[in-house]
């Protein structure tokens, strides 16, 4: 296994490109779904100690809406789509064409919650399918899980999975944004490959493990 903090620049570039392909496909899906232009930033690759991960997403107890899928198969890992709660509400308004939407309490608005979950499902699945096509690896998504909760509580799930092996986590972060129903919506895709998936990803993309 390669420690995330030992990866070379070429290896990081390859992972960034994987994020680019995944998020690009997801942004296209979103644009079709909303019938609206969606902007996408160049992905960034972060290698950070656990503690800083939570700070960097805005603080461990910041409320966020998140859709997460676990990846089974050749290269296990997790893909998250994060939104601020008020932006998730705005997204739900666009999708459902309802002017009033409330998501801050679990179960208050089943219709809106379901709309967000389905949108997140489409986005994370298209992220994963592009990644799987690009690498030629067998990658299968779990059932998507939606949460409106503290960022730390949600993200630590992925940290726990890798924490038996390392104290660092590698995150491929891509931001997408578009002008929503009543405000600008900005979402982040986070792809956290398990450290044991690195060599599979590199091999599939023609990079040596110690290049």
């Amino acid at each position: 296994m390669i420690e995330p903090n030992r990866l070379s620049d070429i290896q990081l570039d390859v992972l960034r490109e994987a994020g680019n392909i995944g998020a690009g496909n997801a942004a296209t899906s979103m644009s079709k779904l909303m019938d609206h232009k969606v902007d996408m930033q160049v992905p960034s690759v972060h290698i950070v100690p656990f503690d800083e991960v939570l700070e960097w997403i805005g603080g461990p107890d910041v409320p966020v809406a998140s859709i997460m899928i676990h990846i089974f198969g050749d290269a296990p890992g997790n893909v998250y789509f994060f939104l601020k709660v008020n932006e998730a509400e705005s997204l739900a308004k666009s999708v459902t064409k309802q002017p009033h939407v409330q998501l801050d309490n679990r179960g208050t608005d089943h219709f809106a919650a379901s709309a967000i979950k389905e949108t997140g499902n489409i986005l994370t699945s298209s992220y994963l399918s592009a990644l799987s096509d690009f690498t030629g690896l067998h990658m299968q998504p779990s059932v998507p899980a939606m949460h409106i909760d503290m960022a730390g509580a949600i993200l630590s799930h992925a940290l726990i999975e890798v924490s038996q092996m390392t104290d660092y986590v590698l995150i491929i972060d891509t931001e997408i944004s578009y002008s929503g129903f009543d405000q600008r919506i900005q979402g982040n895709f986070l792809f956290l490959p398990d450290p044991k998936s690195f060599s599979e990803l590199f091999k599939s993309l023609g990079i040596e493990e110690n290049e």
């Binding site: 939570l54 899980a145 409106i148 509580a153 799930h157 038996q164």
Partner: protein, 165 residues
């Protein structure tokens, strides 16, 4: 009483201690467990933010001892002893250990939240400590703050608000 009250923040897989009037806090506990140990008469307390139940699970060469219930609690007790807490007077409060994701049962880390809680209780039992209060399980994130002067633990969640145990 000129000293300003401050809050000691404990990160993920981290252990720290505090003296009154300061307070100690950890944020965004999901399936992790926050363990508070305190000596009320001496007004000192410590907090460990534990990620995993057992250091035997470690697949790391240099394992991080702050991460595991069985090793972090030993460290917490030694740290408290060195700042004046009496080991025989230590009391405990716990929070966290939620099961955030329904499909967790499909992994090898089955039900990590409840396992963390159980591992912490077993380790405390070795020191003859039974938790005074717990707010564990469920499926929501928690932020906790302990006041060593009063011995109270404030638990905040997004969906159910605040409670004091």
């Amino acid at each position: 009483m000129s000293k300003l009250q401050s809050i000691v923040k404990v990160g993920i897989a981290d252990v720290k201690t505090v003296k009154a009037p300061d307070k100690i806090r950890t944020s965004g506990l999901g399936s992790c467990v926050g363990v508070i140990l305190y000596d009320l008469d001496k007004q000192v307390a410590g907090l460990a933010h534990i990620m995993l139940p057992n250091s035997r699970l470690a697949k790391q060469a240099n394992k991080n001892v702050y991460k595991y219930a069985d090793t972090a609690i030993d460290i917490l007790i030694e740290m408290l002893h060195s700042v004046g807490a009496r080991k025989y007077a230590l009391k405990a409060k716990l929070a966290g250990g939620a099961q955030m994701f329904e499909f967790e049962s499909a992994h090898d880390l089955i039900r990590i939240g409840p396992k963390n809680v159980q591992a912490v209780r077993e380790k405390l039992h070795d020191y003859h400590i039974t938790p005074e209060a717990m707010d564990v399980g469920g499926n929501c994130g928690r932020t906790i703050e302990f006041d060593p002067a009063a011995g109270t633990l404030k638990v905040r969640t997004i969906h159910k608000g605040e409670s004091i145990i």
